[in-house]
């Protein structure tokens, strides 16, 4: 059966970043994932930390790291390097990011007329970041026939200054002086019976169509252009593979700052990021295999030695020197609820720190204090090894990264990407340091085997 120095389970930001870091260090890395991950659902920004009261991501990390149960308590010192590595990798794949850990956190508008607090965004969203001038307006430009972006509704929402306020913030609100809507009629798309962000993004990859479309957008903006300065917000559909070429031209053609507003899934900025991460991993020599859940694993002492997916028949088993669990949280399927009201980690059946079922429900689902289940996850030691209730490492050669780490309130704290990157970086360093990722011979026999929790059997680690 095939062997790898490290098997990474999960193909989201954490898994791919960790696999890339390991592959760059010369490890044979295989990424196994049951399907595409939450990258396809995200807005494209790098959310490192934006808890209430933080003016920058760095300040946010510091605030969160002060809490002993937060992953940043052990990951804080890795955030800089981890972010730098990701920024360089994305840039090498033609996806430049703007902003860094010290950039001010600002609210930028989304395609449903809300705002998000961000400080690090892809270049296409950069023009949304600067504070709004006293007389500066926003032109929301829709596309005729595109149902996922309604410029009049978006403009009506964004015209209310309070929409631009950050939650729990008393700072002065920076919002556009005026917000107007316009609609561009792009060639050959308005009468398509089903026009999605994907259709539009792919159309923008066509250099001929792109020219006509940019003219149409410039015309639509001209019709409502005030005498005063203005920026233009467009739905995030400006190309997939040739996105950089669209960006190169659009500001000149429209004659004013232009930014993309992220939409409902599938997210084009998220797709661009996944594609860049995937290409970067392949270029570094890593492998990625998507389509099957982990069904079984083998252990020898306190090492996981084999990871098996079902495949079409038999199983596809990979002997592993080390394993990185990047399976996501509740949304990503890395944590699963059991009928007795407890949670379990989906692959190895690790114990999960989570409230009991009676506490899963909040009266106000949008409570500013967050959802009670947000912080659910796997407890780890300083090396990111999963630990039991007494704090003792369950497996020596397993590292837990990303959204399945306990203690992060990723919705409220906006820390999901930063935790993913810093833990990926930490795990890669830790495995390299322990010699677990350097091609040493692998043990060929196991003394125990377990079925993955998501595949139907219960976990064994709860009582150890």
């Amino acid at each position: 059966m095939p062997a790898a120095d490290v098997v990474v389970i999960g193909a989201g930001l954490a898994g791919l970043a960790c696999a890339h870091a390991l592959a760059q260090r010369g490890a044979r890395v295989v990424v196994l994932a049951k399907g595409m991950a939450t990258t396809h659902w995200t807005a494209g920004s790098i959310d490192v930390a934006a808890p209430a009261g933080a003016a920058s991501a760095r300040e946010g990390v510091r605030l969160l790291a002060a809490r002993r149960d937060h992953p940043y308590a052990i990951l804080q010192r890795h955030v800089d390097d981890a972010f730098g590595a990701l920024r360089d990798m994305l840039a090498a794949q033609g996806l430049a990011q703007v902003g860094d850990l010290d950039s001010p956190i600002r609210t930028v508008p989304t395609g449903i007329g809300a705002t998000r607090p961000v400080s690090i965004v892809p270049e296409a969203q950069a023009d949304a970041l600067p504070e709004w001038g006293a007389d500066e307006g926003l032109i929301v430009c829709g596309i005729e026939g595109f149902k996922d972006f309604w410029p009049t509704a978006v403009a009506a929402s964004l015209a209310r200054p309070q929409v631009w306020a950050r939650a729990d913030s008393t700072a002065a609100i920076s919002s556009p002086a005026t917000v107007v809507a316009t609609t561009a009629v792009l060639p050959r798309v308005a009468d398509r019976h089903n026009l999605t962000a994907l259709h539009l993004a792919r159309a923008f990859d066509d250099p001929v169509w792109r020219e006509l479309a940019l003219d149409a957008i410039a015309n639509a903006v001209d019709r409502v252009m005030p005498r005063k300065p203005a920026r233009v917000g467009l739905p995030a559909v400006l190309g997939l593979r040739d996105h950089a070429a669209v960006l190169d031209k659009i500001r000149d053609r429209v004659g004013t700052p232009v930014f993309e507003m992220p939409l409902v899934p599938p997210s084009i900025p998220g797709l661009r990021m996944f594609d860049a991460l995937r290409r970067g991993l392949l270029a570094a020599g890593g492998r990625i295999q998507i389509g099957e859940s982990v069904a079984r694993f083998e252990t020898r002492g306190r090492h996981v030695t084999l990871i098996a997916t079902p495949a079409a028949v038999r199983e596809f088993a990979v002997r592993a020197g080390a394993v990185v669990l990047a399976t996501g949280g509740i949304a990503g399927g890395g944590l699963v609820a059991r009928s007795d009201g407890t949670f379990e980690e989906a692959v190895l059946g690790l114990p999960v720190e989570a409230p009991r079922r009676d506490d899963w429900f909040a009266v106000d689902p949008f409570d500013a204090n967050g959802h009670p289940l947000e912080a659910a996850g796997v407890q780890v030691d300083d090396e990111l090894r999963p630990v039991d209730r007494k704090g003792k490492a369950i497996f020596e050669n397993v590292r837990v990264v990303g959204a399945n780490l306990a203690g992060q309130r990723w919705i409220r704290e906006r820390c999901g990407d930063g935790v993913a990157l810093a833990s990926a970086h930490r795990a890669a360093l830790s495995l390299s340091h322990d010699g677990l990722a350097t091609g040493r011979p692998l043990p060929s026999t196991a003394d125990s085997t377990g079925a993955a929790v998501a595949a139907g059997a219960g976990g064994e680690w709860r009582d150890r």
Binding site: G35, A37, I290, V313
Partner: protein, 448 residues
């Protein structure tokens, strides 16, 4: 996941594991982002729309609680026929929905209600064509090359005049199998066969038998080099072309006859080895998943089925592969076919190419060449198929490579027609490498 979905079965015998997996759909649209067909045409709205979204209408009769008195509708509309069956949607789905399988079944339901076009019945039975074509190979190939006849074929039959149809071999593989070192064997295993650790059953499929005996020859040589003899019992088309044309009943009859023979060998411990990834996937998964052949015979055959490259990699991982490959100073672009990905076994060809000195194989990393079996041969789908593969062809044309490797025969024919490069099965490359090793040894011996 499977267990959960199975628990939702309301009417036994309705095979709802595929159908009811639609309940797992989150409507996240990830499947639509990976669909190669929806990428290039509006005729196919995308796997989510024709799959889990339309499924609620199709499954109406099997969900009596929700749909009292509703008749079971075959499909919300017929755009599902533009699904090429590549299967990327199923692999990409984070929720475990069997999207491609659902769509294939929907097409079969549509077909079950009316007579299939002659074209689809013809394309569905490549062995029938082969039996007629091979004895008449010079004539038949001249017909295939004749532009006027192909044009007529497009108008009358509906096979696109530029569609990459393979040329008939002058002799079938079976007629020369003995000379290539294979052992033609009866329908039930006889006592004098070599034991299962020294022999495998070779399922050649239609491609190696009627069109590309050279692939079979290479496979036999590589197996022989590793001390394994190929046993070739009677067999017929696996039925996949019928399945993808929605003709399940005919496919089931063929599958049953194959299973009768293969199960007897599988029970004796013989592995069934294929050089066709798509026939291999059919034996492994589609007999059960599409044709509902979920009995002991189907199970033992599925579990004994190996793709040739999968088997060779397994031998290597167990330290039993002869790795005395000679040097092949070659740039070799490699395309992994859709059907191979559905095996869920990684990319064994690339693992093995890495063992050949001087061979620089690169993964072309493109989703689908477009042809998807018989899909791209049809007049209304040819342009779609060419558009799906356009970037792949472009990438190949941009290289200096004279050869390109690909595991699946229909992909090879499509890529060869589109790029003019020579397309080869990975096992042919390994056979070359063994031959190069022998030459080197002979030369060294001669000069010393």
């Amino acid at each position: 996941m499977t267990a959960e979905v199975a628990a939702l079965t309301l009417i036994p015998g309705e095979a709802p594991v595929v159908g009811l997996s639609a309940d797992q759909c989150l409507k996240c649209n990830v499947c639509n982002t990976v669909c190669p067909v929806a990428r290039v045409t509006d005729r196919f709205p995308g796997p989510k729309y024709v799959g889990p979204q339309a499924q609620r209408f199709r499954e109406a009769a099997s969900l009596p609680v929700q749909a009292v008195g509703l008749e079971k509708a075959p499909s919300a509309d017929h755009s599902v026929d533009y699904c090429s069956g590549c299967g990327f949607c199923t692999t990409a789905c984070p929720a475990g929905v069997k999207i491609a399988e659902m769509n294939n079944r929907a097409r079969a339901t549509i077909r079950a209600n009316r007579r299939a076009p002659l074209r689809d019945r013809l394309l569905g039975e490549p062995d029938l064509l082969g039996r007629i074509g091979v004895p008449l190979a010079p004539l038949a190939n001249a017909v295939l090359r004749n532009r006027i006849l192909r044009w007529i074929g497009q108008v009358v039959v509906g096979v696109h005049r530029f569609a990459p149809l393979p040329m008939f071999a002058r002799r079938t593989f079976r007629s020369q199998a003995g000379g290539m070192g294979a052992r033609l064997a009866p329908a039930s295993p006889s006592e004098d066969l070599p034991p299962p650790d020294k022999a495998v059953v070779y399922f050649h499929g239609c491609a190696a038998n009627y069109y590309e005996p050279r692939v079979a020859q290479a496979a036999l040589a590589v197996l022989a080099r590793n001390g394994i003899q190929a046993i070739v019992p009677p067999q017929e088309c696996c039925g996949l072309p019928l399945i993808s044309n929605g003709l399940y009943e005919q496919a089931r009859r063929r599958a049953r006859r194959n299973l009768d023979v293969l199960a007897a060998y599988a029970r004796r411990g013989y592995r069934i080895v294929l050089t066709s990834t798509s026939c291999g996937h059919t034996l492994k998964a589609e007999y059960a998943e599409m044709l509902d052949l979920d009995d002991e015979d189907a199970r033992v055959v599925a579990e004994s089925t190996w793709d040739i490259m999968e088997l060779l990699r397994e031998l290597h991982d167990d330290g039993r592969l002869d790795t005395s490959f000679g040097r092949l100073g070659e740039e070799l672009p490699y395309h992994a076919p859709c059907q191979l990905r559905s095996h869920g076994i990684g990319l064994p060809a690339l693992d093995l190419f890495a063992l050949v000195p001087g061979l620089t194989a690169t993964d072309l990393d493109h989703d689908c060449c477009g042809v998807a079996g018989t899909y791209g041969l049809k007049k209304e789908k040819y342009d779609i198929a060419m558009a799906v593969g356009a970037d792949l062809f472009e990438r190949i044309r941009a290289t200096d490579a004279t050869e390109v490797a690909c595991d699946s025969e229909t992909c090879r024919w499509q890529i060869e027609a589109a790029t003019g490069r020579r397309l080869r099965h990975p096992v042919e490359i390994l056979a070359d490498a063994y031959a190069a090793g022998e030459e080197a040894t002979t030369t060294t011996a001669a000069s010393s």
